[in-house]
């Protein structure tokens, strides 16, 4: 059980933060289909930061700080990268889906290009293994699921998630941002700068997605940047729709998917009640079944939830001050 919770969190955390990234862009009125691309770019910059720090032997004795610095670099990179989307969607009033797709194509290309220049191979591997896991073997059994074999990113993401949810619902900027995604003309008529709010939403979105990208490769893919995040950005988009563009919904959606994904990855030695029997393995189902389940469930849930969920009304429509 402890193992299951620990592993589920590993998968849940990047999805949760990236789905929240989607919420911030779309609630301000910008469709951010580029989440995947931004994750890729952020993950590369984070990995590159660690690569340089390890090479220069910096912070060798404080890997947690190194991780946090890498996350911040990834977030900054994501924010900057997302400006391309904001600029095309807000200033140039381009189609946001096409703009986002362009970013999705651009990100792996840039990443691989730089990776090849830096490391002369298709991937950027770390000089040293990443020692990011926090182990607390002496802690009480009841606390183990949440405090043993954990990543600092888990706590950071949960804290960020709560802070940003409060920002969205309890502050005046949150109220204004949501108004811009629903009825920008109304927001404009009361003196809110729609362009600025949309930049704000998309930039926060870019930062979160970039950070999520690095968290994904640091905690799941051993820190290696190779121009892909295995479609996690698109999964996060699906979870955002499943969660109805609301933080509570996406937290639940990420947990559900994280659990299924964790079962898929670990079913062979998953011993839930600690009796020494791996129940799922005993069933004798092929490995493909467990690998497919998370995606099938997401498809099914989406098919049923999509009808009820309600996208921000003005998302995807460029706002033009002149048109009234």
């Amino acid at each position: 059980m402890t193992f299951l919770i620990q592993q589920t969190l590993v998968y849940t955390i990047p999805l949760m933060i990236v789905a929240l990234a989607g919420v911030f862009a779309e609630r301000s009125g910008i469709i951010n289909i580029a989440l995947d691309g931004i994750m890729i770019f952020g993950s590369f910059v984070g990995a590159f930061a660690v690569y340089l720090m390890q090479k220069e032997n910096m912070l060798a004795d404080n890997t947690q700080l190194m991780f946090v610095i890498a996350m911040i670099c990834a977030a900054a990179a994501g924010a900057v990268f997302s400006l391309l989307l904001s600029f095309s969607a807000i200033n140039l009033k381009a189609d946001q889906t096409i703009g986002g797709t362009a970013l999705n194509m651009l990100a792996p290309a840039i990443t691989l290009l730089i990776v090849k220049i830096v490391s002369m191979q298709d991937r950027l591997s770390m000089p040293k293994a990443l020692g990011f896991i926090i182990s607390n073997p002496d802690i009480g059994e009841g606390l183990k699921p949440f405090f043993d074999k954990m990543f600092i990113s888990t706590y950071i993401v949960i804290a960020l998630f709560i802070i940003l949810s409060i920002f969205l619902y309890k502050t005046k900027y949150g109220l204004r941002l949501r108004a811009c995604g629903e009825h920008p003309q109304a927001a404009d008529s009361v003196g809110i700068n729609v362009y600025r709010m949309r930049y704000l939403g998309t930039t926060i979105s870019g930062a979160l997605a970039g950070m999520g990208g690095y968290i994904y490769i640091a905690t799941i893919a051993s820190g290696t940047a190779e121009g892909t995040v295995a479609g996690m950005g698109f999964l996060a988009l699906a979870i955002m729709i499943f969660g109805n563009w609301k933080p509570v919904g996406i937290a639940l959606g990420s947990l559900l998917f994280g659990l299924l994904k964790c079962i898929g990855a670990t079913y062979a030695n998953l011993d839930i009640n600690g009796d020494g029997v791996c129940a799922l393995k005993e069933l004798g189902l092929p490995i493909y079944f467990y690998n497919i389940v998370p995606y099938v469930v997401v498809l099914l849930v989406l098919a049923f939830a999509a009808g009820k969920s309600r996208a921000p009304k003005a998302e995807g429509i460029p706002y033009d001050k002149g048109q009234r």
């Binding site: 309890k170 502050t171 005046k172 900027y173 109220l175 204004r176 949501r178 108004a179 629903e182 009825h183 003309q185 109304a186 927001a187 404009d188 008529s189 009361v190 003196g191 809110i192 309600r310 009304k313 009234r324």
Partner: protein
């Protein structure tokens, strides 16, 4: 005149009788002068109507007042002092607020959130809704604006949405309140309530600018009225000293008759018979049109009245074949056409003046002559072996243009998109009237047209009736419903809820049916949201 104004400007704030003045405003756009030396002076505490047809320059003038356009000439004064307004925020800072024709409300927000949006009371960014709520409740009591601050906007009535808009202005302590065509979306009862609210606001010292083209409302509520015509300022009159006729003369530039000339109807054979027709709604839950049965005879005008969005659009789409009927039948001249194509209906006696002339009436990027033969190009007269006989088309179009007085830049080869709305509508009317038909379905035939064009189209519809056509009119305009129809059927939530005789009924009675408060002669108890 200008000397007097200059003198006033020197006086102190409270001595100027005008709270806002726009003097000598001229605004040009390429090709047209939208505002030509217009002067508008609003007194403190008065209700001032701004009257003009579509395209008279009312919106441009208001955009200048809100800083959306900068005028080439002229100045704006607040309490006698010249001010510059560069954007809506400047206007807001001067206490100018506006209830837009299309409400600027966020559906999924509460009434309270909508009111405070942009001027949120907060501590370090965190919303302080409690004090805002108290203030809103207090304001709504003072001015008799009943709203539920915690209801979502999408769940409240249009009337309450409008009250929310008014509260938005009051919450911002606006002194100058502009109402842009506020009655277009309301039932007669709601209009009466709004008028009472406007009077109350004026009594409390607010100055109101009331933009409209409805003369009855001006006569009922305004103190003074300024009239614009074709971008020019015609004059300002005291309502107490004027008449409806004089106002309309000022607005149009000639005398206009308000009553449609028509004789008694002489109903003959049944042309259209609809039996228990239902059409599914777009959201799947409720039928958009539910169990509607009606008959239209030759030589009568039957009108479907109702507030926008009560199933009229779906009803007409089903009738004309644009969408499929789910159950029930449509008989045209005794023949069941429920499953027939649009072309079959068109060539078997149905003419249709559609609600949305851009979407369903014209191909905007086609020329006028091509649009004129849209439903007939396949007739032998207009084609030979699959090739269109353009000479015949040209001749035919020229005839229609002449007979129906359709005005355009280059005659038959004018691009439809470049024509004015009134002439686009005339072109459609010409096409539909000229085709052989026994049934004319006219949906909002005068929407957005000026008084002259309305008069013309009404005359055409009546003369068509007198020739023995069965006319089914769908209209949201109460004046049109009352003056044009021989029988009124009221549609509410997709059902016919009553049949009225325009000669014996009143607008108030009609309003009760339209808002669902009455059904087939009985009152309906209903909790308003």
């Amino acid at each position: 005149m200008s000397d007097i104004i200059r003198e006033e400007a020197v006086k102190t704030e409270c001595e100027s009788p005008y709270v806002i003045e726009m003097i000598g405003i001229t605004k040009e756009f390429p090709g047209i002068i939208a505002n030509d030396n217009i002067t508008l002076q609003l007194r403190r505490g008065e209700i001032h109507a701004l009257l003009g047809e579509n395209g008279a320059g009312k919106s441009t003038l208001m955009s200048v007042l809100f800083g959306l356009y900068q005028p080439e000439k002229g100045e704006i004064r607040k309490n006698g002092e010249v001010v510059t307004i560069k954007d809506p925020n400047d206007a807001n800072a001067l206490g100018i607020g506006m209830v837009h024709q299309h409400f600027k409300l966020v559906d999924v927000f509460t009434v309270l959130d909508n009111i405070i949006l942009g001027v949120e009371p907060n501590t370090a960014g965190f919303l302080r809704k409690k004090q805002a709520r108290e203030r809103v409740i207090e304001l709504s009591k003072t001015y008799g604006l009943n709203v539920d601050p915690d209801a979502l906007v999408e769940n409240i009535t249009v009337g309450m949405q409008q009250r929310t808009e008014i509260l938005k202005m009051l919450y911002r302590d606006n002194e100058i309140l502009i109402f842009d065509e506020p009655t277009a979306v309301l039932t007669p009862q709601e209009i009466d309530e709004l008028m009472a609210v406007m009077r109350g606001l004026a009594k409390e010292g607010k100055s109101i600018l009331f933009i409209t083209h409805k003369l009855n409302e001006i006569m009922a509520v305004a103190d003074r009225c300024s009239v614009l015509r074709k971008g020019k300022y015609i004059g300002t009159v005291n309502i107490a000293d004027t008449t409806k006729e004089e106002l309309s003369n000022m607005m149009v530039g000639r005398d206009v008759k308000f009553v449609v000339d028509k004789g008694e109807p002489t109903p003959g054979e049944v042309v259209l018979e609809i039996d228990k027709m239902s059409v599914r709604g777009s959201h799947g839950k409720k039928n958009a049109v539910n169990d509607v049965s009606l008959k239209v005879r030759e030589g009568e005008i039957v009108c479907i009245a109702g507030i926008d969005g009560n199933g009229q659009t779906e009803f007409v789409h089903a009738l004309t074949g644009l969408v499929r009927v789910d159950s029930g039948s449509i008989k045209l001249l005794g023949e069941d056409v429920t499953a027939k194509s649009i072309r079959y209906r068109n060539t078997h006696g149905m003419s249709h003046i559609p609600e949305d002339r851009h979407k369903h009436g014209l191909v905007l990027d086609y020329t006028l002559e091509e649009n004129m033969v849209l439903q007939r190009y396949f007739e032998p007269k207009f084609q030979k072996g699959g090739f269109i006989r353009f000479d015949a088309v040209r001749e035919y179009a020229e005839g229609l243009i002449e007979n129906f007085d359709v005005r355009s830049g280059q005659g038959p080869v004018t691009l439809s998109r470049s024509m004015s709305g009134g002439n686009q509508q005339k072109a459609i009317v010409a096409r539909e009237m000229d085709r052989e038909h026994k049934l004319l379905i006219a949906v909002q035939p005068t929407r957005g047209l000026d008084v002259g064009a309305i008069e013309y189209i009404h005359d055409q519809i009546v003369s068509s009736r007198d020739k023995g056509t069965a006319v089914l009119l769908v209209s949201l305009e109460l004046d049109e419903v009352m003056s044009l129809s021989d029988r009124i059927l009221v549609m509410y939530e997709g059902e016919i809820v009553g049949e009225l005789d325009p000669k014996t009924t009143t607008v108030q009675e009609l309003g009760l049916y339209m808002s669902g408060a009455k059904r087939w002669g009985r009152e309906v108890q209903k909790n308003e949201g």
